[in-house]
């Protein structure tokens, strides 16, 4: 009876992320990729339309108004915002900035990112003619 007989617990491969809030959050972040990917394809579709001429471009813009397209865009907007927030939250970890013996506090780095984000968004809105 001297052979060790350790007991191995197997996590569920398909539902483990439901066992804890932090795993759900992580999975949600991972899944923003679905929407970002979908949106990238949408943009690609738009480029195709733009290349094909004015008519296709107009059809493309009009197609954005269908209920399904609207729903998708709202979801994408939510997902991208979540992506932005979670991405900025961890940037200080991936790229810490050391000044002398201290590290620049994470919230300052994240704060700088938010500032840049606002500026970038304003520029986009300006050139798009929204502002």
């Amino acid at each position: 009876m001297n052979q060790p007989r350790p007991y191995v617990r197997e996590p569920s491969r398909t539902t483990w992320y439901l066992t804890h809030r932090r795993y759900m959050q992580h999975m949600a972040q991972e899944l923003t990729s679905v929407f970002i990917g979908a949106y990238a394809l949408l943009m690609l579709w738009g480029l195709r339309a733009l290349a094909a001429g004015e008519e296709s471009w107009q059809t493309f813009l009009a197609s954005l108004g269908s209920p399904l397209a609207l729903l998708l865009q709202w979801l994408v907007l939510a997902a991208t915002l979540y992506h932005t927030v979670s991405w900025f939250a961890v940037t200080p970890k991936a790229m810490p900035v050391q000044l002398g013996e201290r590290f620049v506090p994470g919230f300052l780095i994240a704060g700088a990112h938010y500032l840049a984000w606002i500026v970038a968004s304003l520029i986009i809105l300006y050139f798009a003619g929204v502002l």
């Binding site: 009876m1 001297n2 052979q3 060790p4």
Partner: protein, 583 residues
């Protein structure tokens, strides 16, 4: 019984054991090392050391100063040849650790920084914030991983040495995960099993510090030296016994009684300068500070709390920035375990058992009287600590004498005669096995082991505490004799083979009883007060009769035999220990 063949077996993978293993590997990569430990190396209690390690490195310091601080701190019971070797080697060993990656705290110019410690004339304690032992242990452990000649046997509990033909040829250890006992056959054995604080109820030591190595050597006929000298650290947290490093006081922390008065000035440690003055007040030696607490308590000037009597450690004037840089763990420990944030509040502290000056008798090469058997670290007594160890000398001792044990054991192993007939060794090992298997067979008739341990704790605290007397020690001796008898009948409640910690506790209590017995008897016989050994009935030091090491020899059925050995004095004749403004 399985036999594992090796050249050198090391019991214990704390600071001393790891340093020894690396020393063997570096001095001769051909020698096989078996590194045996009852816990994973990085769990060893060296991990808990906070303050730092002493070694002369700065221009304003000198080896002579370190020598004199150590010798007078030890109340002249140190062997001065050993101390001299120790202070000479200390800087090299600490530098070696730096080369291995230890993250020592630094000065702005990149040199290592040093801090003040109790009883030291000049600041010479290398430190890594307040996690010095942690960093030393992890550095040694990680460094040891690169030597292929070192094989680790983690979570193997060693029970007995195998001594045959007048020399040590191996040991018996139990693989805890299977309960299997194995014999390690070795040309040389090094014991590095650490201290024994757990025999007291209130200690800074971890639960693994249970005198195993001392007991193994003791039973094998090696005397235990100077066992009566048990160090109380003056600043432990009440309740848990968690240590607040002397570094707190080195950085400028002060001790006050219930009136907010720096009471140490009443005990020849003044004047109470507002700044830290070396070797005075809070930077006096540990024995004096712990004794001062005892007197304050007698005078009713301590603070009563739900954990009992305490005094206060005041760090507030150091300010948050310095506390965070130099004492971050202290802040965390005090805040969580007693709810006092040292940045804003007074921290309750009291003396607590911390360190064993005594241990396995070795010479300056870490060799015991039994050929082939070496010992180093807290379990050994070389002796550099005499009657009272100075803070931060122990970590350095692990390195200096751990390394020496490794090198000398390696040399011995290379030159060793071929070992005797294996069957003789196996017979020895079988006897050792029987000691364990008997526990499994015994029927329920004795005390529960947890109660036995409690009784042991009480016997030690009541009889062999900060102050002792003929009466209290006699009582302890009697109680311990009775407990040893009880232990002979103890049975196991858990008879499993797999990771049976109940069995381990039981064996550990057995070890502690033997070592405690040696302590009480050595203390009873020493009719003087010296360093940490304070007798109410013999208040003075008596160099005439007791400028000697005590040696306790094991006696299976009765009291140990106490013998004496001269102290080696080379250049510092015994004098008065002076602290305070007179230094």
């Amino acid at each position: 019984m399985d036999v594992i063949e090796t050249d050198i077996a090391i019991i214990g993978a704390g600071g001393a054991g790891l340093r020894a293993a690396i020393a063997v590997a570096e001095s001769d990569p051909q020698l096989k090392v078996a590194l045996i430990s009852k816990v994973y190396p990085m769990r060893s209690h060296t991990v808990a050391a906070e303050g730092g390690a002493a070694g002369v490195i700065k221009q304003n310091d000198s080896l002579g100063f370190h020598f004199h601080d150590t010798v007078s701190g030890g109340d002249w019971l140190c062997d001065q040849d050993a101390v001299e070797l120790f202070v000479n080697q200390a800087p090299l060993e600490l530098t070696q650790l730096e080369h291995w990656g230890c993250p020592w705290s630094r000065e702005p110019d990149g040199h290592v920084a040093v801090r003040s410690f109790g009883g030291m004339k000049i600041e010479r304690t290398w430190f890594a914030a307040d996690k010095s032992g942690f960093h030393i242990l992890h550095t040694l452990f990680q460094t040891s991983l690169q030597y292929p000649s070192i094989s680790r046997f983690d979570e193997y509990y060693s029970t007995d040495l195998v001594v045959e033909d007048g020399r040590c040829q191996g040991l018996v250890a139990m693989e805890m995960r299977t309960g299997l006992l194995r014999m390690f056959r070795a040309k040389a054995v090094i014991i590095a099993t650490g201290g024994a604080g757990w025999m007291f109820p209130f200690t800074t030591n971890g639960a693994i510090k249970t005198a195993d190595g001392m007991a193994m050597a003791y039973r094998a006929g090696v005397p235990l030296k100077d066992m009566e000298f048990v160090q109380y650290h003056p600043t432990g947290l009440p309740g848990t016994g968690i240590l607040l490093t002397e570094g707190c006081r080195g950085e400028g922390g002060i001790l006050v009684n219930k009136d907010g008065y720096r009471y140490l000035q009443d005990y020849e440690l003044g004047p109470p300068d507002p700044w830290p003055r070396k070797k005075a007040m809070e930077l006096g030696p540990r024995d004096r500070l712990s004794q001062a607490f005892w007197h304050e308590q007698q005078k009713g000037r301590t603070v009563s709390t739900r954990w009992g009597e305490v005094v206060h450690l005041d760090l507030r004037h150091l300010g948050e920035a310095k506390i965070n840089e130099r004492l971050p763990m202290i802040r965390d420990l005090a805040t969580s375990y007693v709810g006092a944030d040292p940045v804003h509040e007074l921290v309750p502290v009291r003396p607590v058992v911390h360190y064993m000056m005594g241990g396995i008798h070795t010479d300056i090469d870490a060799a015991t009287p039994v050929p082939g058997l070496y010992a180093a670290g807290e379990c050994a007594c070389v002796s550099i600590n005499g009657a009272n160890r100075l803070g931060s000398n122990s970590l350095t001792e692990l390195l200096v004498f751990g390394g020496r044990a490794g090198r000398h054991a390696a040399q011995y192993a290379r030159e060793a005669r071929p070992s005797v007939d294996g069957s003789l060794l196996l017979k020895r090992a079988e006897t050792a096995r029987k000691r364990v298997t008997d526990l499994f067979l015994r029927e329920d008739q004795g005390k529960r082991i947890a109660l036995l341990r409690k009784a042991l704790n009480d016997a030690m605290e009541d009889g062999a505490g900060i102050y002792r007397s003929e009466e209290s020690l006699k009582k302890s001796c009697d109680e311990l004799a009775e407990l040893r008898r009880c232990y002979g009948r103890v049975h196991l409640e858990d008879k499993s083979n797999v990771f049976n910690t109940h069995l381990i506790y039981t064996l550990e209590v057995g070890s502690m009883l033997e070592a405690a017995h040696a302590i009480a008897h050595s203390a009873l016989q020493r009719k003087e007060s010296r360093g940490s050994h304070q007798r109410l009935d013999f208040a003075n030091r008596d160099d005439e009769r007791y400028l000697k090491h005590s040696l306790a020899y094991y006696n299976a059925d009765g009291d140990p035999r106490i013998d004496y050995l001269d102290v080696t004095i080379t250049k510092s004749p015994p004098g008065k220990r002076v602290y305070g403004g007179d230094v």
